[in-house]
């Protein structure tokens, strides 16, 4: 069942960047792609507990700040060692300048 929550304002995220969003004891990462689209994934790397929001966004890749593991943040796909488990992604929509994610 869908559960849309407001994650941030559109302007809170720079283009080709990521921010952290905490909600209900969970941590998410909110991305803004170079094409100005928004995406959301779990906030922690699947390899070890590191905040992806401290990482680097390059095109459609988020690189974990701890061991440089890379994921496609649009699909959640892990792109090779040291990350082997895909990242969970969440539907995103933008309404009235706000980024909403479906955490349901």
């Amino acid at each position: 069942m869908a559960e849309w929550v407001e994650a941030c304002a559109v302007d809170d995220v720079d283009e080709e960047d990521v921010i952290r969003f905490d909600h209900g004891g969970r941590t998410f990462a909110i991305y803004r792609s170079p094409e100005d689209a928004f995406f959301a994934t779990d906030g922690f790397c699947t390899h070890e507990k590191a905040h992806l929001a401290d990482g680097l966004v390059m095109d459609d890749i988020i690189e974990c700040p701890k061991h440089n593991g890379r994921f496609n943040y649009k699909t959640g796909q892990a792109n090779g060692a040291p990350v082997c488990v895909n990242l969970k992604t969440y539907p995103v929509k933008v309404e009235a300048g706000k980024v909403m994610i479906d955490i349901g």
């Binding site: 507990k49 680097l56 700040p65």
Partner: protein, 363 residues
């Protein structure tokens, strides 16, 4: 009364259990505050610097190899052996390292190609070492967890000295690759290579063996040592610079602390060594922010040096400083070189620094 226990460097032993129980394993480490915008700029990837350096590297390797072949049988070969050996046996380590992190080039396949070539030159299984290095960054110099502690306590000084000749590393690396090629991984290796990746380590070892077998076959066919002097043996005669610079990364400093300022060393080095070493002399900075490419480390150093111990001004200074510490560790293995933080630095978290795992073991 607490009896001091010897450190157990196995990755599946008593120290491992203690590190996990006391929270030293996979702990949260100290990071100097750097504004996100600045860090984002520092982390930016670019192919340019690494392509330039790699072209210089390859041209120098091929040029010195040509000199070895041309002057074979004369004393003129010596300078070419010197250059080729260091490029093959030492500078490959920093290329392996940076490309393993994926920070040298922006383009992933370029990182992967150089990573695999450098791994071969070093006789390192590219799969195994990718994982061991990930562990090294998670648990830097945490006894029982870190797979890459170069000098253990009490220090074996003869072993450390022999490391400069490459003999010990050669004796370890080659049989390890052979064992892995036959499908056997050690318990330590299995502790940090995920099960789903272990078969890849075996396949990689087999490829390395194929190339070495081909090199030996060519040497026999040509009745010449040249193929072996160019492939394989530089791991012996050219490894000294890697050891010279690499030992300084952590030797003699604290173990079982969760602050890279205390267990890692930054050393100012000459430009040639920095090219060979790809700026890994800024080692505290690298460990604190492994996302920053080698070419941006000097800038990062300038930005955060107020929060770091004073760097050693030279390799000579660093070795002179650590030598008495190593001698003392022969008798008292708990002794270490304490890095003084400057008044401008944030203090180390005392609750970790005071932690005595031997006392914990005795309870």
């Amino acid at each position: 009364m607490t009896t001091a226990k010897k450190r157990d460097y196995s990755l599946v032993g008593e120290s491992t259990r203690l590190a996990i129980e006391t929270g030293l394993a996979s702990a949260e480490w100290y990071h100097t505050d750097v504004p996100r915008k600045t860090m984002k700029e520092l982390m930016q990837r670019s192919d340019g610097p690494a392509i330039r350096d790699t072209i210089i590297w390859i041209v120098a390797i091929l040029g010195s190899a040509a000199g070895i072949v041309w002057f074979w049988g004369t004393w003129w070969i010596v300078p070419f052996l010197f250059v080729y050996g260091v490029l093959y046996g030492s500078s490959s380590d920093s290329r392996w390292h940076e490309c393993g992190h994926g920070t040298a080039f922006r383009t992933r396949w370029m990182n992967d190609v150089v990573y695999h070539i450098a791994s071969f030159m070093l006789m390192r299984n590219p799969v195994q070492w990718r994982w061991s290095h990930a562990r090294h960054h998670t648990d830097t110099i945490i006894v029982g967890r870190d797979a890459e502690i170069a000098v253990m306590r009490p220090p074996d000084l003869i072993k450390a000295a022999l490391a400069f000749t490459g003999i010990l590393d050669f004796r370890y690396s080659l049989p390890t690759l052979v064992r892995q090629a036959f499908g056997t991984l050690s318990d330590d290796e299995k502790s940090y290579i995920p099960e789903m990746e272990q078969h890849k380590a075996v396949i990689a070892a087999r490829w390395h063996m194929v190339v070495y077998a081909a090199t030996i076959a060519v040497a026999i066919a040509l009745r010449s040592w040249i193929p072996l002097v160019l492939i394989g043996l530089p791991r012996l005669y050219g490894t000294w610079h890697m050891v010279l610079t690499g030992l300084l990364q952590h030797i003699g400093l604290a173990d079982n602390v969760t602050d890279h300022r205390l267990n890692t060393r930054t050393v100012y080095m000459n430009p040639v060594s920095r090219f060979i070493y790809w700026n890994m002399n800024y080692h505290v900075e690298h460990h604190m922010f492994p996302m920053v490419p080698y070419h941006a480390l000097p800038k990062l150093h300038e930005l955060i040096k107020h929060d770091l111990p004073e760097p050693n001004p030279s390799m000579w200074h660093a070795y002179r400083e650590v030598w008495p510490v190593l001698l003392r560790q022969l008798k008292y293995e708990d002794y270490y070189l304490k890095r003084e933080l400057p008044p401008t630095a944030k203090p180390y978290r005392g609750e970790f620094h005071d932690l005595d795992i031997t006392a914990a073991a005795a309870e």
